[in-house]
């Protein structure tokens, strides 16, 4: 089952992150961490995977002296998310 579902998105945390990012313009690491209730380490790993696939962009900067990581979904990421949802619909309609 779920063979044609994008394996990159078919994971709890990555799917949650993509669902958040599709709804907003950009979000900080702490926002994603809080909303997904994940650990910093795990979130960081999953964000890197999404970034490697060019589904999201990660911008690293500083807010005052604190490091700041801001994530944004890319057009490729939006397309992948839409495809994932469309495939999901087919499974549900079956």
């Amino acid at each position: 089952m779920f063979n044609d579902l994008d394996p990159l998105l078919h994971s709890q945390l990555r799917l949650a992150v993509m669902s958040l990012l599709i709804s907003v313009e950009s979000a900080e690491f702490t926002f994603l961490k809080e909303k997904t209730n994940s650990t910093a380490g795990n979130l960081s790993v999953q964000l890197d995977k999404l970034s490697e696939a060019s589904y999201i962009t990660i911008e690293k900067g500083f807010k005052g002296k604190k490091p700041l990581t801001t994530c944004k979904i890319t057009p490729k990421g939006i397309k992948a998310f839409e495809d994932y949802v469309n495939n999901l619909k087919q499974y549900i309609n079956k």
């Binding site: 709890q12 799917l15 949650a16 709804s23 907003v24 313009e25 950009s26 997904t36 209730n37």
Partner: protein, 199 residues
């Protein structure tokens, strides 16, 4: 309520279609609440404009003061304060939504248009009060729609109605009184309701 914790289990776990769907809808729901409900601007500008209007009304009706419109210069520090507050808030916010950007663009555009009408006031027969009151209605209504807050939408309708009334009254000091009432009902009342909502 939908529990976030339930789906942040292990990575390798197989997701059912329903679980996937729950994650998507749950997260979108979470993000939806991220549009800032900002009563600050409504309260700041509400008080500034109401007090300025009342002051101009009192000065014209009860005194011989030659230049009552000087009162409006209090909008300059208010504008500077708004900009500083906006920049500071923007830096603090951990998430930025498209709707917030739309909202900011509409209000900045409204501010620029107001400024233009004030500069060219003579060209429109100094009907600045009704023009600005009516114009206020649009961004206020849009803000109400964006944050899903009905009192702001009703406030916007009140602004429009009293703006029209201000045209009907014509060029008299009563326009200032009408504007003060319009802004009290259109900005301050929904502004305070929004603030109690935020808390």
């Amino acid at each position: 309520m939908f529990r976030i914790q339930t789906y942040m289990k292990t990575q390798s776990e197989n997701l059912s279609a329903q679980e996937s769907l729950d994650i998507i809808t749950g997260m979108i729901e979470q993000a939806k609440g991220s549009v800032q409900k900002n009563s600050f601007y409504f309260l700041l500008w509400g008080w500034v404009v109401v007090l300025a209007n009342l002051a101009v009304f009192v000065l014209i009706r009860f005194t011989d003061y030659p230049n009552p419109f000087i009162v409006w210069s209090i909008t300059i520090p208010a504008a500077i304060f708004s900009i500083i507050h906006g920049i500071r808030k923007d830096k603090q916010s951990r998430v930025s939504t498209h709707l917030e950007k739309i909202s900011a663009a509409i209000w900045i555009g409204f501010g620029i248009t107001c400024f233009t009408f004030i500069i060219f006031g003579a060209k429109i027969g100094w009907q600045i009060n009704p023009v600005i009151t009516i114009m206020c209605a649009t961004p206020t209504f849009v803000s109400g729609v964006i944050i899903r807050f009905k009192p702001l939408m009703f406030g916007a309708i009140t602004l429009w109605v009293l703006g029209v009334a201000s045209f009907v009254v014509g060029s008299s000091e009563l326009q200032f009184l009408l504007s003060a009432i319009a802004i009290t009902l259109g900005y301050l009342v929904p502004g305070y309701m929004l603030r109690s909502h935020e808390n």
